[in-house]
Amino acid sequence: MNRFANRREAFWHGIRDALGAPVLVLFAGMVGFGAMGRTHGFDAWMTGLTSLLMFALPGQVVMLEMFISGSSLLAIGFAVTLTSTRFVTMVVTLFPQLHRRDRNPLLYLWVHMLAMTAWAVSMREFPTISPKHRLSYFIGLALPCWLISPMGTVLGYFVAGWVPTAVTLGLVFINPLFFLLTFTDVKPWANRIAIGLGCLFGPVFYMFDADSSLLLTGLVAGTLAYFIDRRWLRPRPVEVQA
């Protein structure tokens, strides 16, 4: 359990883990977003700030698309918030694993750096880290991911146009591919079933209503997976016969 000697070591190990696939994935995704902002005629400032302040790629893309199609501000705010509802449960499943002492109001600051990438890596690594080192590891992991994003976006914005389309194509594909690959590392059966069912239900619900489909898929597929696991898969406590 004691992978690290102290918090500082945990922090630096988090940084080391970030400087690989996670930073690469966010960078690539954000370059793609920057290029998208440019081709849709947005301001460089605004495109970069979106990545710094929103830091939620799917929501960012939804915002751009809806703005171009002329949706009302209220509709944009509502749709983006709906796609971001995943953060509620992401935080709720990650932060209770932190040490009691770290669960203080400062978390309202750190939570802004949480995105799907850092969440997926933390969920995988936390069980092997002792609780008192988890927050430091998380900060080390999430900080570079967050900082690289506006840089990737602005770079993408300015290179769009003279970079061959083939390169942009490869870059925008890294994001979904990364999440798909991390699913193979998920251990609990309830979560594995939830992923399977989510893949099936997601597109179906998307046909009905795009904005609310993520939330709806999560609730339906997740609840179903939870009960399947609870009813059939979980090892039952041995019953003692009287």
């Binding site: 703005f67 953060f87 669960r103 939570v111 490869g170 591919l177 979560n191 989510g198």
Partner: protein, 116 residues
């Protein structure tokens, strides 16, 4: 709509989107204070989260917006399957080789498509 109006609109939309997204994160912090990681609620919420993330990933692959939509669906799925095969080919999980496989294949398709 004149250019100035449009300029204001963009910033308003951005502010609304930022506030909405941060509120979701903050709500998570608020709620997480009442949840214990060994509880049934925690297990259920984990399943819900993974289902949401899975739905989002599948959406980005099957129903992408923008450039990726110009690649045939079958090819997108095929590249995903190949990358997954590289990933699970070792119990230690080859994340970076698998990522490179997918990215380079997509890049190769892009090059092949643009070549006369």
């Amino acid at each position: 709509m004149n250019a100035d109006m449009q300029g204001w609109g963009v910033w308003l939309a951005l502010s609304a989107a930022c506030v909405g997204t941060y509120l979701c994160r903050a709500a998570g912090v608020k709620l997480s204070g009442h949840i214990h990681q060994d509880s049934e609620v925690f297990r259920w919420l984990s399943a819900v989260t993974y289902a949401m993330v899975a739905a989002l990933t599948v959406r980005m692959i099957l129903m992408p917006l923008g450039l990726l939509a110009t690649v045939p669906m079958l090819l997108r799925v095929l590249i995903c399957v190949l990358s997954l095969a590289v990933m699970v080919s070792s119990p230690q999980r080859r994340l970076v080789p698998a990522l490179l496989t997918g990215t380079l294949l997509m890049l190769a398709y892009g090059v092949w498509r643009t070549s006369p």
